[in-house]
Amino acid sequence: MNVHEYQAKEMLARFGVPVPKGGLATTPQEAVGVARELGGPVFVVKAQVHAGGRGKAGGVKVCKSIDEVQAAAQAILGIRLVSHQTGPEGKLVHKVWVEAGTDIARELYAAVVLDRGAERLAVMVSPDGGMDIEEVAAKTPERIFSTRIDPGQPLWDFQCRQLLFACGLDAAQVRQGTGLLQALVNLATTKDASQVEINPLAVTGEGKLVALDAKINFDDSGLRRNPDVAALKDPTETDALELAATSLGLNYIRLDGNVGTMVNGAGLAMATMDVIKMAGAQPANFLDVGGGASEEMITKGFEIILDDPKVEAILINIFGGILRCDVLAAGVVGAAKKMDLKVPLVVRLEGTNVAEGKRILDQSGLNFSVAGSMSEAAAKVAKVLEGAA
């Protein structure tokens, strides 16, 4: 789960990481109020959306007066911010973060991230902050320094010293930076964050370290034991249908095509999308109904697929293991009858209780075609779409 910059900064502050003073605003008037309290002389107004590249997209403005803050908030709030991470449709800006400007002498980079290969957390720093770290990694990999944390061990001071002296900091800054890096690790381990990234980490004119921007990604599996983190979820950042699916325990992702899909298991769902594409059609969504789906969940999942107006055909591909084929069939029949299904439906069933599942579909009076294999199912869908075109 991603959070906004202002939420990340509040979390960092709680763990003792210095961040600029600031406040949240949803209107230009509120932005002015925050700016008056901060006092100036310099302010930064930043769009709060879940996407990188906000600066280049015009979502960050440096202001030298209260009037400029008002104008900046006016200009940013309510626009669709389009950056390289938002897609062409952009992201609607509901909130801006207004903070005190920082006197920046240098910009570093610091992050704590899961190293899957090493099966432990890695701490990564670079003296080249303020730019895309992937670009630094590609062009000047020798400018990135990293270390791994042994499971059950702290991030030792010496590890921090090695990283921070390599970045060219002086002894006092290295002392401050050691506490800062340890705070990032502490945040990651206690709050189940899979990534904590500070870019840039500023060295101020006075020689102090301050986190100017922050991105935190939390492990979804850790949300249950961190209700304070779960409460940071911003529903406006998620597609409405995806949100509805999540509340039902279904894993749904909306895509651009016209073939709705319902599959059990993430891998099989991805493979089903792939065969649809190879057959010349385009998947409209990814929907993994999981292992333990009930009849009601199947019905709701089916409704979510049909709520997408782009869907012109539906392919159901179920390999019953824990999810029994008869449960799936009853759910589909229930939904199709309730919703007066108008688009063609292709069903491929295999696995636990497959005979009973097929019987339920056969006796339903629904208009659908059965496929014996995945390839056949995708070919049938592509064909009915061609016929309709």
Partner: protein, 289 residues
């Protein structure tokens, strides 16, 4: 022959008295698997379906000689359960539970590694040696004893491939669902190594998906010289970058973890790559017959 489990494996089920644990233990026993013990703290001394239940895995191992543990407990307790099994001395821990926090798995994996315990999973269907032993939740009837080893990151995708291989008239030596989480137990490379030394396995199928670099590492190993034919598939060719598709591991970040790159690495290593999943069984059969 087979790897990891066989007809002599003695299974302890952690979470036997729960609904899932009971259902699947029953299916495993119906398949002929030796389920010798269950563990549920506080229910020691009772019995479920004729299987004795213990308070601790240590008790179960001492009383029954269990050497493989199957973990069915809820996510919040699963890492602890895996460590308990390791400390009790079982050789293999199979973790079915999903949604285990990554921080827990980092610690548990280090604990198991220090004791030399092998792990399969978490978030996986388990391990089966057809005709001998089923340790997991896979539907038994799709399997046939045979000589194809199968390793997969995804549950139902494994079933699909197994089913196709059985339909094509072949069978499986051992099938392992390794799970799709960021931190897992046995990986492609380790299992390829085990299959290399198994005279009962004539070919190995690797079923991958987007995210991570497990497929690339497996390809590098095969490229360095592997004595048996290897077949590969990668799910997620059409997955849009950055979208999370169910498994925590299936995240494409930048240029790493993309299906295209994985397929290219596999092809360059001499692995027979199947792009259309529907043709997997036929491709393997054509090459082996």
């Amino acid at each position: 022959m087979s790897i990891l489990v066989n007809k002599d494996s003695r299974i302890v089920v952690q979470g036997l008295t729960g609904k899932e644990g009971m259902f699947h233990a029953q299916q495993m026993m119906a398949y002929g698997t030796k389920v010798v013990a269950g563990v549920t703290p506080g229910k020691g001394g009772s019995e479920v379906m004729g299987v004795p239940v213990f308070d601790t895995v240590a008790d179960a191992v001492r009383e029954t000689g269990a050497d493989v543990s199957l973990v069915f407990v809820p996510a919040a307790f699963a890492a602890d359960a895996a460590c308990e099994a390791s400390a009790a001395g079982v050789k293999l821990v199979v973790v079915i539970s999903e949604h285990i926090p990554v921080m827990d798995m980092i610690r548990a994996k280090a604990f198991l590694n220090a004791r030399g315990t092998l792990m399969v999973g978490p978030n996986c269907p388990g391990v089966i040696t057809p005709g001998e032993c089923k340790v997991g939740i896979m539907p038994a009837y799709i399997h046939r004893p045979g000589k194809v080893g199968i390793v997969s990151r995804s549950g139902t995708l494994t079933y699909e491939v197994v089913h196709q291989i059985s339909q094509a008239g072949l069978g499986q030596s051992t099938c392992i669902g390794i799970g799709g989480d960021p931190i897992i137990g046995l990986n492609f490379v380790q299992l390829l190594e085990l299959f290399r030394g198994d005279p009962g396995t004539e070919a190995v199928c690797l079923i991958g998906e987007i995210g991570g670099d497990a497929e690339e590492k497996a390809a590098a190993m095969v490229a360095a010289g592997y004595p048996k034919p290897v077949f590969g598939f990668v799910a997620g060719l059409t997955a849009p970058p950055g979208k999370r598709m169910g498994h925590a591991g299936a995240i494409i970040s930048g240029s790493k973890g993309r299906a295209q790159d994985k397929l290219q690495a596999m092809e360059a290593a001499g692995i027979t790559v199947v792009r259309a999943l529907g043709e997997f069984g036929a491709t393997v059969a054509a090459k082996l017959k």
